[in-house]
Amino acid sequence: MELHPDLLIRAHYYMRLARALDDRGTFLHKQSKIVGGYFSQIGHEAISVAAGLALGPDDVAAPMHRDLGTYLVRGLHPRRILAQYLGRSTGVSLGRDANLHGMGDLSLGLIGFISHLPASTGVIAGVAHAFKLRGEPRVAMCFFGDGSASQGLAHEALNWASVFQLPMVAICENNQFAYSTPLSRQMNIANIADRAAAYGIPGVIVDGNDFCAVYQATCAAVERARAGGGPTLIECKTMRMRGHAIHDNQAYVPKALLEEWATRDPLARLEATLRARGLLDDDALAALHARIERELDDAQAFAEASPYPEPGTVRDGVYA
């Protein structure tokens, strides 16, 4: 099935935006404007954008730390994201939480991330459970990694979703590493999707660097969930193209592996598709770049002009 041009163009915008925002963050970190940790998501754009686009406006997603694309697709403004990175009072967490943590906003159907992986799986099972109990045709989607798959919670949550036949889509972003730990130290199986059989749910393997493939697989799972067909586990095979976080030069990753995956860059592939279908040319790309740079300049200016939280508010906000 050929995807609609509008969709591809939207996807392209968000993938470019995610990458540019990622680069901007790296830049700001180098300038010491972002302090502490910083996570890059380069290589994950197809997954986070495609899965995000597969959801409807009333659906809910719990992205993890490499899913900038999902946040953007669901409408989280780069201003709020950069302000978050810079610890400003206008950031999503008002300066309280760090980098991509705590970027939740239920009005956008986004659940804030906590470090303790894979919390997203558990909390999204609950959101899906709520949808099911209410009989609402809504879907809840979580993201987790290959390392996160070793955590007991991943098992509990997928099992829970299956027992209650919940409208949940679980996206496993298998980027082959968890920090420095390769897959072989994480599991003794070829495909995480094969674990779906342990729960009696469909398991799907998809090329995580192919926007169209991810989009189609997630749409199918979302539709299935919405129609009452229960949860799906989708494994997206990809590669983490930067270190675990900005301090990590990932010397432990074989160069050849990175080079190989560089040839499969999800953004380049989508652009090739767009060009092949006559939806993109050099001018359009340049215009897009310029637009995104403007947007990010604006976001950065907003963030930098935003005040830090007042020290006197340090005790605020713990209780509702």
Partner: protein, 344 residues
């Protein structure tokens, strides 16, 4: 045992329970609160292991699945971590889940969901987590190290949570209503020992007990005993005994452990100048330590004696009856400590 008479709060006598004439056990009061809330608010639901058809390990939820159906009284897989996470997720969609831990001891299995997610969420992105976790705790029932724990201090230490521990049927009901309606995650410690052994007047109407308010169970001049849960009964027994001996002893029931009612704690300490704190939980870094620290800072000039704690020794709760009896603070040990303080 219906020692829950002359209900006081703070320095003043609080309004008496409406004289409906209804007496319930502590356990019935909990069930009554659950039923009341399930009827009142369609967003309230219950989750837990064996709480449906079986009615719960202690039969607290008995009859509720029959009345409210399995969409609102949910028997879950045996997975505390997913259970609490699921409750959090449900709460994001407007539900008010009440999660039963089969025993308070198993709350450690769902620990991450409570202390990392639920406790921090409102702080981090402003979204409240209105869940209640019922934790049947404490000992005295020959249930051994894994079915007798009083582990509330873990949560009292953790910002973002509220923790309550009712000592009377009326408070069991009133605090559970408040817990369910509270927009924050509340750990509700119910004392198994009191389930059937304690009966008392319980209102029928929408009478809540506010979270954060201690209750003065007995006013006195010479000594304050500060306790919660089953230890309130022990403290009252001791106070009565000392009363008979001509002493005047005050008993403060904390009721809420987080946030502590600092004003009531300081008021009683200032009034009597001598403080005895009693709890079943392990002594070190227990709630008693915090109460003592508050008083040592805030009522220093009023103190006429060392702040004394009678608490569970720092061991697991033993099974064998002579050991458990030696472990659990009860009237004799409290009495001895109280006499020492009075004589100080």
């Amino acid at each position: 045992m219906t020692w829950d008479e002359g209900l006081h709060r703070g320095a003043q006598v609080v309004a008496d329970i409406p004289a409906t004439g209804r007496e319930l056990t502590y356990l019935e009061a909990i069930r009554d609160a659950l039923r009341f809330e399930l009827r009142r608010d369609p967003n309230v639901l219950l989750m837990g292991e064996d709480i449906g058809i079986y009615g719960g390990a202690f039969k607290v939820t008995q009859g509720l699945i029959e009345e409210f159906g399995e969409a609102r009284v949910i028997d879950t897989p045996m997975a505390e971590l997913a259970m609490i996470y699921a409750a959090i997720g449900m709460s994001f969609q407007g539900f008010r889940p009440v999660v039963e831990m089969q025993f308070a001891d198993f709350i450690s299995t769902g620990f991450d969901a409570i202390v990392q997610f639920a406790a921090t969420n409102h702080y981090r992105w402003g979204q409240p987590v209105p869940i209640t976790i019922r934790a049947p705790g404490a000992g005295g029932l020959r249930a051994g190290p894994f079915h007798s724990q009083s582990n509330e201090a873990w949560f009292v230490h953790t910002p973002g949570l509220k923790v309550v521990a009712p000592a009377t049927p009326a408070d069991a009901r009133g605090l559970l209503l408040s817990a369910i309606r509270d927009p924050n995650p509340v750990i509700y410690y119910e004392t198994k020992y009191l389930y059937r052994s304690l009966k008392g007047p319980v209102p029928e109407d929408d009478v809540t007990v506010p979270i954060g308010e201690a209750a003065l169970r007995r006013a006195g001049e010479e000594l304050s005993i500060i306790a919660y849960g089953a230890m309130v009964g022990e403290a009252l027994a001791v106070a009565n005994q000392l009363d008979a001996e001509g002493h005047s002893v005050e008993v403060l029931d904390l009721r809420t452990l987080k946030p502590l009612d600092e004003a009531a704690i300081l008021a009683t300490a200032r009034r009597t100048g001598k403080v005895l704190i009693v709890h079943e939980a392990n002594r070190t870094c227990g709630v008693g330590a915090e109460v003592a620290a508050l008083i040592a800072a805030g009522a220093f000039e009023h103190l006429d004696g060392p702040i004394t704690r009678v608490a569970g020794p720092d061991t697991p709760v033993p099974y064998s009856p002579p050991l458990e009896d030696a472990h659990r603070p009860a009237a004799p040990a409290i009495l001895e400590a109280a006499r020492d303080l009075l004589a100080y």
